[in-house]
Symmetry: C2
């Protein structure tokens, strides 16, 4: 099965589907259906239990999705979270870097705007849709702005402008004089006509602007809807000369209101968060107090993030609205408490592709944490968390070991705020290595030059942060401190010295993970998810649908189990078909009530992957499944 066939299968089964397809979906939006929601929740709960308990002092918080503009000034999203686009005169728009990569096979992601413009110029790249010239590269910010409060009058004014001048941009059709005569005769002859002169064009229209004639260089054009044009030999053109001229009356008071409202709009601008991470960062000063100044502190968010992606694709892989699970770990760079953990795990192996090993052309190399440490000198706490992430995929999600790797980003590839940056990648047969998360050490290092760059008001505070001649501080905490000047970002060590914690971020795309679980576990017949991940946990069947006693007992079992588990009852079709129906959506256990049940109160429990069947007494079923689904046991 290829990618599209699999996606079609998942859509048909209700794991996910295009959002609001009844109205023609907008790309980049998917809804989770009944089965997908169960799977997504199971993933989130496992994540919560595993990462939320990684060490003591980790808390989940739920910050707002709509966030303050200053947050993204401090984080520099407003300035830097852009995609480069080009457009042609017909309005076709493209990601400039992707277009260069596709057309010219040049790595373009880290090119500057000037470099891209130069390439477009030299290579004479034109619009792939219509062949016309492309504009210079512009930057397009990926955040969705939100305007809070009753500030929409700009749009009302624009509506008014559109009403008055919208005719300028309608699509006109060229006509010959005979057609013009026909139109005048049939539609304009007895109406009051008006005209507007504009550059070298003349527009003539009736009061309602239902029909507009444009005259340019002695040629005639017409705008009309649902009107059939025939030809007419009698000349009516003189009628057009009687049109009453209107002066363009767009005036400064309209402009004044437009600008006034626009400024108010901008003052009330907020943004849908493009990552969940900023919530924990701006709330750090509050949560560190609530949690009594203990470090390391973990704050995590499982929730929506929004990006105005120019080219969403691959179903759940690149969406405009998506779910992230991100854990932010805050600690003192000079006193990190994960040394023991590293010692404990240093002989464990993980799959990594280090920058220095890329020339070996292997997808990854198995290395122990200690080996990586010796080769790279990457801080030990970072390697420890790499291992814990690896363990989550191998032991909890049961991703086959050869399908996961940590891909180290080179200095010119990684986000500028990351000191260390490894992508978590899974190998999907249909797509190849796919980023499903990342481990980001978001930290800044300053020397004494910084003192002269900060506001007078906080100079003293910054001076106090030095240890020797350097400061290590979390990228976001530092920037929020500089902008807000909120001194609660600064903590005090037992010896009295001051610091701003550093940030280690474990970031996961929930949808990408769910999608990868579906792709890697579905083999075309069976969805081989672990039992604790399967959407439907148990199915219950009477062997024969028309045997009243069997149906009665099966329904009793169903009604008892469904309170506590996610159970599906099915009595239609042959038993083999019913098993198959459950296999393909991943149900691990099927209970069947048969003849023997009616004699000895036992049922068969069938295991999805082995097809093995065992008999269990009805009274023991609840306990049996409680044990099976006790996810705490696997952790």
């Amino acid at each position: 099965m290829d990618l599209n066939e699999k996606i079609k299968f998942f859509i048909n089964k209700g794991f996910f589907y295009e959002s609001q397809s009844i109205y023609g979906s907008r790309s980049g939006f998917y809804d989770y259906g009944s089965l997908g929601t169960l799977l997504k929740r199971r993933y989130e709960n496992l994540w919560r239990i595993y990462f939320g308990k990684l060490f003591d002092n980790i808390y989940e918080i739920q910050p707002s999705e709509i966030m303050h503009k200053n947050t993204f000034i401090a984080s520099r999203h407003l300035e830097l979270f852009n995609d480069p686009i080009v457009e042609c005169k017909n309005g076709h728009r493209f990601r400039a870097d992707k277009l260069i990569e596709e057309k010219l096979n040049i790595k373009a992601e880290s090119l500057t705007i000037e470099e891209m413009n130069k390439i477009f110029d030299e290579e004479k790249v034109v619009c792939p849709e219509c062949g016309s010239k492309l504009s210079n590269v512009k930057l397009f910010n990926l955040m969705f702005p939100i305007y809070v409060g009753p500030v929409y009058d700009s749009f009302l004014i624009l509506e008014e402008l559109k009403r008055k001048y919208g005719f300028l941009i309608k699509k006109y059709r060229k006509i010959n004089e005979k057609e013009l005569n026909y139109i005048i005769k049939n539609y304009l002859k007895n109406k009051n006509l008006y005209s507007i002169n504009l550059n070298n064009e003349k527009y003539i229209f009736d009061e309602n602007k239902e029909i507009i004639i444009k005259i340019k260089d002695n040629e005639y054009y017409v705008y009309l809807e649902n009107i059939e044009i025939k030809e007419e030999d009698i000349n009516y053109i003189e009628i057009l000369n009687n049109a009453k001229e209107i002066k363009i009356d767009f005036n400064l008071s309209e402009l004044y209101n437009l600008i006034k409202d626009y400024i108010e709009l901008k003052n009330n601008e907020m943004f849908l968060r493009p990552e969940t991470a900023q919530g924990p960062y701006v709330n750090f000063p509050i949560e560190i107090i609530i949690n009594r100044y203990r470090l390391p502190l973990g704050l995590y968010v499982i929730g929506k993030a929004f990006r105005n992606e120019i080219s969403p694709r691959n179903a759940l892989l690149r969406m405009r609205e998506f779910t992230q699970a991100e854990l932010q770990i805050f600690f003192d760079y000079y006193n990190n408490q994960f040394e023991n953990e590293f010692e404990f795990y240093k002989d464990k192996y993980i799959n990594v592709l280090l920058v220095k090993d890329r020339d070996k052309k292997l997808p990854y190399i198995e290395k122990s944490l200690e080996e990586i440490y010796n080769e790279t000198k990457i801080d030990k706490f970072y390697l420890y968390f790499l291992y814990k992430v690896f363990e989550f995929y191998i032991n909890i999600l049961k991703i086959p070991k050869e399908r996961i790797r940590f891909y180290q980003l080179a200095d010119n590839e990684k986000s500028f705020y990351n000191m260390y940056h490894f992508d978590i990648e899974l190998y999907l047969d249909e797509i190849g290595w796919t980023e499903v998360g990342g481990i980001h050490f978001r930290v800044l290092r300053f020397n004494r030059d910084i003192i002269n760059k900060v506001d007078e008001e906080i100079k003293k505070d910054v001076e106090n942060l030095f240890i020797g001649n350097e400061i290590y501080a979390g990228y976001d905490l530092w920037n929020h401190f500089i902008l807000s000047k909120d001194r609660r970002f600064i903590l005090t060590r037992p010896n009295g010295s001051k610091f701003i914690p550093v940030e280690l971020e474990l970031s996961f795309g929930v949808d990408r993970n769910v999608f990868s679980l579906l792709l890697t576990n579905y083999d075309g017949e069976i969805l081989r998810l672990q039992d604790y991940l399967s959407p439907i946990q148990i199915a219950v069947f009477p062997l024969l649908e028309n045997n009243e006693n069997m149906v009665k007992v099966a329904k009793e079992i169903y009604n008892k189990l469904r309170k506590r588990f996610d159970v599906y009852y099915d009595d239609s079709g042959r038993i083999g078909v019913r098993y198959k129906r459950q296999d393909e959506i991943g149900t691990y256990y099927c209970i069947t009530v048969d003849d023997q049940t009616l004699k000895d109160n036992t049922v068969t429990v069938r295991f999805r992957d082995t097809k093995e069947q065992i008999r269990i007494n009805i009274n023991d079923l609840e306990k049996f499944f409680e044990e099976k689904f006790d996810i705490w046991k696997i952790l």
Copy 2:
């Protein structure tokens, strides 16, 4: 404790706090902190288990928060989901109906715009902030629009306009001639000056528009920042006469681009959903197929909704971003399957305030379902679900019975699409009766007139929906069918006849419920939540913080329990203080390791409300708490 004191307490403890207070919060946005998130999740999980299992065939789905414009055309949110506002010339804005209610003590919610305008006129209501005249009432739509794709050029054009003409709306200060002379001498004398004439005003400025002089009726005004003005006797005014006049150069090509981009903007307009309900409605055609056409079908969403409220207030009670839990129940109006359930519960009592009983001046009357049925003839299925909601509050959330009522809305009060509409209200000492949810029978009834009002294409389909001379159909399913013409909204009965299901909505404001739980359970010392609702489930203390053995055992217990439960370890301060700290955040069980523990391996477990202490062997703790927190047992 009054409302504000309680809110302050919850904020200090980290249940919730104003969103991004480091930047000065925008009203209407709150974040859940570490404790609040735990409580909110417990509420949601209880809701999910209770309402998600109310009957067989209920599923959770997760639709996108950003939704298609057509969805809100069909649901009529774009047309009707408005608040009336008035504004004064200084830009102060108010909810028109609230202003009338406050100023004149007149019920205004259901007044028309014309009626409100008349009242403002006759009563000469002026701006409460500055006393100036108020505008006519305008309607303000409460939805947040979202523009998808790279469509922001309108804003860039507006930026350009603002750069060119922004001076028009700066704040000018009136000055005398001597001050004018001082300004010219010190700031304008050696610069190139420009002027613009506008109506009867003249603006004179330097190239950078840093200083602008406005002359009107022979009086002088100035715009300037951070400049101290003194007086000067020498006359420099002639210099102003040399300013070079600029013609206003806003031209039609700017206008053309503005309108073009605006139209593209509008074409790409989507909306943040103002309620979760539309997700299940638009996805009904998909989910009914996936779930094999079984009715009744329940689809629920627990998720965010967004409203651009003009006056957010009372912390979590009226926010701009909030969480809803809404269950949509779909069934055939002519074959609803809840008759038996009604029969089973008909002698049960609930607290209702029927419209007909309002004159009795009681907050509510206890009536059995059967009594209500006999008095009102409200459909039995509806009354059955009223009871199930009642049970949730009484038995699961343990809201004291006298604090809950169902408030029936009169015909002129209820939403126009509801045939029946009861609010779920809780009594909060600090606020009074407060709406925390609603039970809405969203249904339309048509006679044969409707056939001539629908498109030709679906006339036949609509004709087929009649039973006798009437159609009952869910308000939203009907409207989405009419707009999308998607025939999957129409189902077939076993006898071959056709129908569109009706919709019963059980709608809950999650934040309002969480806030109510906090307010009603916190008595100033103890947060008396049920043990299965308390954020922290167990606290663990060594009796003496400096007794190494006690600390060691306590930490062992803590580390064992924290994997499975939400546990807090505390060894600082006197034991009484530590108990108090847990009492006020609602922790039900406190474990203390004391002298005896070191002898016989038992600890004390203290119960929050009774202060009773029992001794339990350490090895039995896990099992003890598993039983205590087994929420399935209470359902």
